[in-house]
Symmetry: C2
Subunit: 459 residues, 2 copies
C-alpha cells in the first residue's frame, strides 16, 4: 500500500517530503522514501536536493544505509557525494559496495580523494580495489567482480546443495547462476551451473559433475570480444583467469553489455565537447563551467590557427567581399561531411569490422564517396554563387573549393580515427577537433587561394 | 584442433578460404569457417566478401544454415543480405530467427521489402512479427521475445521437471531461468524460478510453489524504466503483460541493457549526420553517398540561411575586413559551447534526471554557465583582436559579440532537446542543426550589427 502511494505521488511532493524528513532527522522516513518504494525517482530525488540538504542526508545515515542509497544512484552521482565526505566516512560506505561498483566510483574521483579513501579501507579490500581500478576501460578486468560462489573440487553435490540452502538469501541477492570449482591453489578446474544440480546424484563430487575446460577470458579481453562470446554462447557469466589459471573474477552478460553502452555514451559526450565526463546540472557552477572551459580553450586555439589563414588573405577578401559569405559555409559543410566519415570509422572500429591498419581500404572507400558528394555539393553552391552575383567565375571558385575540400574532409574524417586508434589514442576525443582544424585550414586556403589566382576574373 | 587452427590463422587467409569454398560450392567448409570456429570474425568475413560472392554464399546455404550464419552477424548486416534475396527465400530464413531478431531485421528493411517477406511467412508468425515490429523503439514491446517456458498452474513439480528434462537441450539454448505459470486463458498467475525446483517437493502443484503477483511491465514501459527495475531487483527476466494480464512476451536483462546501448549508438550516428542508420563501407557507393547527401542537403539550406546574414552586412565587412577573420571563430566556438549544453540535456533526459517540462530550471542553470564561459571566452578573443589590430574598439566588438552569443548558444543548446522531446521529436536528430543555425545567425548578426553601430571607431 505504502509503496503505491509513494509511486503515485508527483515528484515535487516526494522531494518536499524528503527535505522535511532530512530537516526532521527522520531516518526511517528517509529510507522509506529512498529505499523502499519503486525507485525510479531515487536518483532524481538526491540529484535535486540542494548541497546543504544532501550533506545533512549523508551525515544522518549509517554507512550501511548510505551504501544502500548509493546503489540506487548512478556511480558518478555517488562519486559526487562521496567526494564531500571525510575519507573515513566515505571509506566505510564504499566498503559496502560490490567490488566493481567500488572501483568505478573511486575511478571517477580525483586521484587525491581516491587515495585518501583507499588509505582508510581494509588492506585486503584496498588492494583488490587498486587492482580493479587499474584495469583499463573497455577490458574484462574493468567490469569483472569478485563476488562469486566457489567450491573445492572434492565436495559432494549434497554438501554443495546444503551450503547453498543455508545461505540461500545471500546467494539469491548475488543472482548466482554458476558455482566455480577450484583446486587448493585457487585455480579454476570447472564450472558448475547451479541448475545442473537438479540432475545430479547427491553423492557425486563437484569434479565429477562440473563442466571441464570451461571457456575463460583474461583481464585484457576486450568488451567487444566479451559481447561476441555472450552472443555465441548462452552463458550468463564468464570466469576471468590469470595466465596460471587462477580465478580472478567473473564477468556477466549484463556487465559486458552495460560497458558497451557506457562506451557509446562516453563517446557521445566526448564528441560534444564534454571530455567524456558526466555533468549534472545539480553540480556547482564552478565545476560545470571549468570542465566545459577546459575543452573550449583548446578549441579556441585551434580556431585561431585556422582563422589565421583568412588573416593572411585579407587583400583577396577585401577585393572580393562576397567570398566572406562562403567562408562559414565551406567550414561548416566540410565539417559535416567529415564528421559523417568519422562516425562510420568509429562505428566500424567499435564493431571490429575494420582494423586500425586498413588505411588504404578506408581511403579508397571514402575518396569515392567524397568525390561524389563533393561534386554534388560543389555544383549546388557554385551555381547559387553564380546566380547571386551573376559572375560564373565566382561560382567556379566557390564550387571547386567546396568540392575539393569535401574530398579532403571525408578522407581525413575516415582516416583520423584509425590513426588515433593505431597510436592508442582515443578517437572519440580527438577526431572532431583534428578534423575541424584540418578542414577549416584547407577550406580557407582553397577558396582564398583559388580566388587570388583568378582575381582579375572576380573583381 | 580445427577450431584452434581457424582462430589462429590471420583474417586474410580465412577470407580467402571462404571465397574458395564459395566458388567450390563446398558447403561443409563454409559452415566450418563461419559456424564452428570462434566466431569473432564471422561478421567481418561476410562483410568483406564482394557482392557477387555474398550472393553465391546465400544461394548455396539451406534456410537453416543461412539463419545460423545470420545469428552470428549484426542485424543491419542481415538486413543488407536479406534485401537482395527473393522474398520467399528471405522468409524461410527469417522464420528461423528468434522473434525479437526477426522484428529488428525486418524493421531495418524498406517497407516494400519487409511487406513482401511478411506475405511469405506463416500467417501466425507474420501476425506476431507485425505486432512486434509496431512497438516503438525504446519500449519493452520492442525488445521482448515470445520464446518462453510456460506451464499450466495445475501441473506438479514432478511433471514440470520431467518436461524440462525431456527437452533439456532446447531449454538450455533458450537460456531459460524462469517458467511462467498461466491460467487456461493465458493470463499470468506467477513466476517459477527454475532454481526453486531444487527446493520444492515433487508432489506440489505449480500454483503452490510459484511466486505470486510477480512484477510485470507493459509493452509501453520505457527501456530506461526496465533498466532501473533490473538494477533494483536481481531478476533475469520480466514478463510483459497486456491490461488483462495476458502474457505477451519476456524481456531479459541483457536485451534491456543492449537496447540502451543501441539508443546511445544511434544518437551518436544522428549527431554526426548519419540519420541514425548504420553505414558499412561494404555497402554500395550509391547507397552510402545518397544517405549521406540526404543529410548534407538539409544542412546546406540551413547554412545558406545563416550566411545570408553576412550577405546583408557586406558593407560593414568591406569597411572592416578584419571582422571576416572572426566570423568562423564565432560560428565554431558558439557551436561548441551550445553542443556541450545539448549533450548535458540529452544525457539528463536519457537518465530521466530532467523532465521535458523543466524549461526554467535548465534555462537558469545554463544561463549562468553561459555567462561565465561567455565572459571568459569573450575577454580572451577580444584582447587578442585588440592586440592584433591595435584597436581596442575592434576587441570590444568581437569580444562582446562572442560573449553574448555564447550565452545564447548555451541556453538554446540546453533548451532545444527539451523542446523537441516535449513535442515528441527526436532530440538527437534535430538538436544539432537547429542549434547551429540559430547560433550562426545570432552570432553573425551580433558581430556585424555591433560593428556597424560603432563603425566610426573601427575604421
Amino acid at each position: 500500500m505504502t509503496e503505491e502511494l509513494i509511486e503515485e505521488r508527483p515528484f515535487e511532493e516526494n522531494l518536499e517530503s524528503l527535505e522535511q524528513a532530512i530537516n526532521g532527522q527522520s531516518i526511517d522516513r528517509i529510507m522509506q522514501l529512498l529505499g523502499e518504494a519503486d525507485l525510479e525517482d531515487a536518483a532524481k530525488l538526491v540529484d535535486r536536493l540542494d548541497a546543504e540538504d544532501r550533506k545533512s542526508l549523508f551525515a544522518l545515515l549509517t554507512a550501511e544505509q548510505a551504501a544502500e542509497v548509493l546503489e540506487n544512484m548512478y556511480y558518478f552521482q555517488g562519486a559526487d557525494i562521496v567526494e564531500d565526505l571525510p575519507p573515513k566516512a566515505a571509506a566505510s560506505i564504499i566498503a559496502r559496495l560490490d567490488s566493481d561498483d567500488r572501483a568505478d566510483l573511486l575511478n571517477e574521483l580525483d586521484e587525491e580523494d581516491s587515495a585518501a579513501i583507499l588509505e582508510e579501507l581494509d588492506r585486503e579490500i584496498a588492494d583488490e580495489t587498486r587492482r580493479f581500478m587499474a584495469y583499463p576501460d573497455g577490458t574484462a578486468g574493468a567490469v569483472m567482480y569478485s563476488e562469486y560462489l566457489a567450491f573445492d573440487a572434492g565436495l559432494t553435490v549434497e554438501e554443495i546443495l546444503s551450503d547453498i540452502r543455508s545461505q540461500r538469501e545471500q546467494y539469491a541477492e548475488f543472482g548466482v547462476q554458476y558455482a566455480y570449482v577450484l583446486d587448493d591453489r585457487h585455480r579454476l578446474l570447472g564450472v558448475l551451473p547451479i541448475r545442473n544440480l537438479l540432475f545430479a546424484r547427491h553423492s557425486e563430487k563437484a569434479r565429477e559433475v562440473m563442466i571441464r575446460n570451461p571457456i575463460t577470458v583474461d583481464v585484457e579481453t576486450s568488451i567487444h570480444e566479451l559481447n561476441n562470446l555472450f552472443e555465441q554462447h548462452h552463458f550468463l557469466g564468464l570466469p576471468v583467469v590469470d595466465p596460471d589459471g587462477t580465478l580472478l573474477g567473473i564477468v556477466d552478460r549484463e556487465a559486458a553489455s552495460e560497458a558497451m553502452q557506457e562506451a557509446a555514451t562516453e563517446d557521445l559526450l566526448k564528441f560534444q565537447g564534454l571530455m567524456g565526463r558526466e555533468e549534472l546540472r545539480s553540480m556547482p557552477l564552478a565545476t560545470r563551467s571549468k570542465r566545459r572551459l577546459s575543452w573550449l580553450s583548446i578549441n579556441i586555439v585551434l580556431n585561431l590557427i585556422s582563422a589565421s589563414i583568412i588573416a593572411l588573405h585579407q587583400d583577396t577578401l577585401q577585393a572580393v567581399i562576397a567570398l566572406a559569405v562562403f567562408l562559414p559555409i565551406i567550414s561548416d559543410m566540410s565539417g559535416c561531411s567529415g564528421n559523417q566519415a568519422v562516425a562510420v570509422s568509429m562505428r566500424e572500429l567499435s564493431l571490429e569490422l575494420v582494423s586500425p591498419r586498413e588505411f588504404l581500404r578506408v581511403f579508397f572507400k571514402e575518396s569515392s564517396v567524397g568525390l561524389t558528394n563533393g561534386i554534388v555539393l560543389g555544383l549546388l553552391v557554385g551555381v547559387l554563387a553564380w546566380i547571386w552575383k551573376g559572375n560564373p567565375a565566382l561560382g567556379a571558385v566557390v564550387g571547386s573549393a567546396l568540392a575539393l575540400n569535401t574530398v579532403i574532409a571525408v578522407c581525413v574524417g575516415g582516416l583520423v580515427p584509425l590513426l588515433l586508434k593505431a597510436f592508442r589514442q582515443d578517437p572519440a576525443l580527438a577526431s572532431g577537433p583534428i578534423l575541424t582544424t584540418v578542414t577549416d585550414m584547407c577550406g580557407f586556403l582553397l577558396i582564398l587561394g583559388i580566388a587570388s589566382l583568378c582575381l582579375p576574373l572576380l573583381v
